[in-house]
């Protein structure tokens, strides 16, 4: 597995906020999203919240020294608080709000059953082990009330947590995505071409070039 790199040093999608790559609606939407702070909690109770925060950190880990962390747990909480749905669910899963409450409770229960502490108090390795069991469908205690852990893992945990992470500009910067693009889209679409408002990728040994170019993005 490759280590995570600083591939787009100096790149910030938000630098383009007042330029032609963003329109008014996009600014409005992103402002609301960025107002969701890491402690903004409206749906989960305290116990669920602890499990959720720990869970999020395992599914989409973030560097400890990151200045602009993605508030993953808060974003998932926001989705559930506003009852934003996907438009379908597997027959074996309850609806998403119920599924999350049940699943978080069950996960915490399993942690206590197997390791004697709450899920959020476990170390990363133990948390990952539990999640892998859930992923395979091997968590089958009565606490799950018949909800298959495999389905909960794949269709709720993975789907909601991963999408929450990549709904945030910090994640966009990390992967070097161009970000919002209206009315200005893209001109250069060929191999190894980028427009001046896109992220410059740091090539090995020439990171500084990329950094300088990325500082120009949004100017």
């Amino acid at each position: 597995m490759r280590p995570r790199l600083d591939l787009y040093p100096g790149y910030d999608v938000l630098a383009k906020r007042d330029g032609p790559s963003w329109n008014a609606k996009t600014r409005e939407v992103l402002e609301k999203r960025l107002a969701i702070g890491p402690e903004t909690r409206r749906f989960f109770n305290e116990a669920e919240w602890s499990t959720m925060t720990a869970l999020a950190e395992r599914i989409v880990p973030q560097p400890a020294d990151r200045a602009d962390r993605v508030p993953v747990a808060a974003l998932v909480d926001h989705k559930l608080a506003t009852d934003t749905r996907d438009g379908y669910r597997n027959a074996e899963l309850p609806d998403e709000r119920e599924a999350w409450r049940l699943g978080l409770r069950a996960l915490d229960s399993e942690a206590r059953a197997r390791f004697g502490t709450h899920f959020h108090e476990l170390g990363a390795w133990a948390q990952d082990e539990l999640l892998k069991l859930a992923e395979k469908g091997d968590l089958t205690g009565a606490v799950w009330e018949g909800m298959p852990s495999k389905l909960f893992f794949h269709q709720r945990i993975l789907a909601d947590v991963v999408k929450a992470y990549y709904a945030h500009p910090t994640a966009w910067n990390e992967i070097g995505w161009g970000g919002p693009a209206s009315p200005r889209g893209y001109v250069r679409m060929d191999f190894d071409r980028r427009d001046p408002w896109e992220a410059a990728e740091a090539k090995p040994g020439r990171e500084d070039e990329a950094y300088q170019e990325n500082l120009q993005v949004g100017r």
């Binding site: 008014a24 609606k25 939407v29 999203r33 989409v60 438009g87 027959a91 991963v162 009315p183």
Partner: protein, 565 residues
């Protein structure tokens, strides 16, 4: 000649977001409807009272319903078209944000089961005036002529009661209406007129497809797309922003919302947004009107004819929910086939990493295509065809959330593995099929015990592959894997479980015992009840269905109008 500054797409909507909320308050009322091509402007809209028996009540304003509404209104009939979804103003309402734009999709509850439960919502279901064409990827392809007679000519599926030559004429018309941007000459199928706009420039992801196809010795072509490459009226050319499946904020995309519906309004049609039709009323064997929920209460619109165009889940759901004493099994269901023969199309993909930067997020997702496997019935060597049907495959350009979800769900990555793999986002290219799955009666839409926010039973969608589907999947993945590797892709992996589109649940045919509607989309059981959307397809082919749905709608309009003369 238009001077910029008059509020059309050329203006940068720097400061404008509409003051109203289209998702909660209808916009089409008080004698006007939004002019979606001009910021803040309106067009007059003729309105009817509920008690007025209009000529046609159409449920759904998508590829089928919207196109039909336009042609019937232009033919002088009084038309009211209902849509459960909002009346969006793309120039002002659409943000460049994946999460926010989920407002375009059908996010009301549905239950999925079967051996291969489907993904719904953003995958295939729109909820907006303009239907799923507001979020579709604009791929505009014609059926192969033989596909209208698969049972007779090729030994599978069921025949359409339509002649391909007649459909060719209607394809011409749709392509003209939408100003399809396509290649100067198209490699497959019988001779056809030149597309009205030239094909778009292809991006690196599309060139990967091209290189792979050339290495495998098959043809490829820039994809014909329903987004303009040169201005058309108020529509500017595409800016290649890549948010096509999340709503086009420039109006280059020729969705029904910006193409047929403005014409429909001009010809006197009425559109009712945020109007959920819950039930069709019948009396003495004829439809008499529709019950719909709008602005807080249930209402009833009288109509001489009713057309159901809610796409392949909502159409059978409505027909089944409208069961009454006259028709205890649901409307138009004497054959028992309403809701059955649900077909999706395979959407398998292969993905790989490239040394060069691809940045596939630029431009429409499917800029290049090969339809080779739609026209080659035998195959060769390791790619001998051991299944019925065909598939086309296209380049792709997923946005971050979609890509991350793919990496997590289909590639099994999470944790540090996921986050570091996502950093190769700009080096990814893939190939994705649209493949022909077989009609099977066991794949169906039924009513679940769960009720939605309107108090109506929601749809349960049951789906499983048959052996032919699985054989096709294997062939497609194998071929694309090799093509992608030949183009330079490394660490190629399969995305084996994905589907697209919805068809078949109210199929058309020549025999009332084995079909729901006839060739004119008229139900056998109820002479003034029609179905005009993807539900009517007896087979689904290996191409995206929208162009065919719209061609069928144009033909249906002609047939209705000619009967009245």
């Amino acid at each position: 000649m238009r001077i910029p500054g008059l509020g059309n797409a050329a203006d940068n909507p720097k400061h404008v977001t509409p003051g109203d909320d289209p998702e909660h308050h209808p916009r089409a009322r008080d004698g006007r409807a939004p002019n979606v091509m001009r910021i803040g402007e309106w067009v007059p809209m003729r309105q009817h009272r509920d008690e007025e028996e209009v000529d046609f009540a159409i449920v759904g304003t998508g590829a089928g319903g919207g196109t039909l509404a336009c042609r019937l209104a232009e033919g002088g009939l009084s038309v009211v078209a209902f849509d459960a979804g909002p009346y969006f103003r793309p120039l002002e309402d659409f943000a460049s944000d994946e999460s926010h734009q989920s407002k375009l999709y059908w996010t009301d509850e549905r239950i999925v089961d079967g051996e291969n439960p489907l993904q719904m919502g953003s995958n295939n279901s729109g909820k907006a005036v303009g239907g799923s064409t507001v979020h579709y990827a604009m791929v505009a392809l014609r059926f192969r002529p033989e596909w209208f007679k698969t049972r007779t000519l090729m030994g599978y599926g069921a025949d359409w009661p339509l002649d391909w030559r007649e459909m060719w004429h209607y394809y011409d018309q749709v392509e003209d209406d939408l100003k399809i941007s396509g290649p100067v000459s198209y490699p497959w199928g019988p001779h056809r007129r030149r597309y009205h706009r030239r094909a778009h420039e292809i991006n690196a992801a599309a060139k990967v497809l091209a290189r792979g196809a050339e290495a495998m010795g098959i043809d490829w072509t820039p994809t014909p797309l329903a987004t303009v490459s040169a201005p058309h009226g108020d529509a500017p050319p595409c800016v290649y922003r890549g948010f096509c499946t999340l709503g086009c904020s420039t109006n280059a995309k020729q969705s029904v919302l910006v193409s047929y519906l403005p014409r429909a309004l001009k010809a006197g049609a009425e559109i009712r947004d945020l109007a959920m039709v819950g039930r069709i009323e019948t009396r003495n064997g004829r439809a008499t009107g529709v019950h719909y929920f709008r602005e807080g209460k249930w209402r009833f619109q009288r109509a001489k004819n009713v057309v159901v165009a809610g796409y392949a889940i909502e159409t059978p759901r409505l027909l089944l929910n409208s069961a009454n004493q006259e028709f205890p099994d649901g409307l138009a269901n004497s054959s028992g086939l309403v809701g059955k023969n649900l077909m999706v199309q395979g959407n398998q993909a292969v993905w790989g990493v490239f040394d060069q930067e691809i940045r596939s997020y630029k431009g429409p997702p499917s800029l290049a295509i090969s339809e080779h496997w739609n026209y080659d019935d035998k195959g060769y060597g390791p790619f001998a065809k051991d299944f019925f049907g065909g598939y086309s495959y296209m380049s792709q350009g997923p946005l971050p959330q979609l890509w991350a979800n793919t990496q997590a769900s289909a590639h099994g990555l999470w944790g540090e593995a996921l986050v570091s793999e996502m950093q190769r986002y700009n080096h990814v290219a893939g190939l994705k099929v649209v493949s022909e799955y077989m009609p099977q009666e066991r794949n169906r839409v039924t009513l679940a015990d769960v009720k939605d926010q309107y108090g109506l039973p929601v749809a349960r969608i049951t789906y499983s592959w048959c052996d032919n589907d699985k054989a096709l999947n294997r062939h497609a993945l194998k071929f694309m894997r090799e093509a992608l590797s030949a183009a330079g892709g490394r660490e190629v992996w399969d995305q084996g479980d994905d589907t697209c589109h919805l068809n078949g649940t109210a199929r058309m045919g020549a025999d009332p015992r084995t079909s729901v509607v006839d060739a004119d989309c008229r139900s056998w059981d109820i002479p003034n009840l029609y179905v005009c959307d993807g539900s009517v397809f007896p087979t689904v082919g290996g191409v995206n269905p929208s162009l065919t749905i719209q061609a069928v709608a144009l033909r249906t309009a002609d047939r209705i109008l000619s009967r009245r003369r």
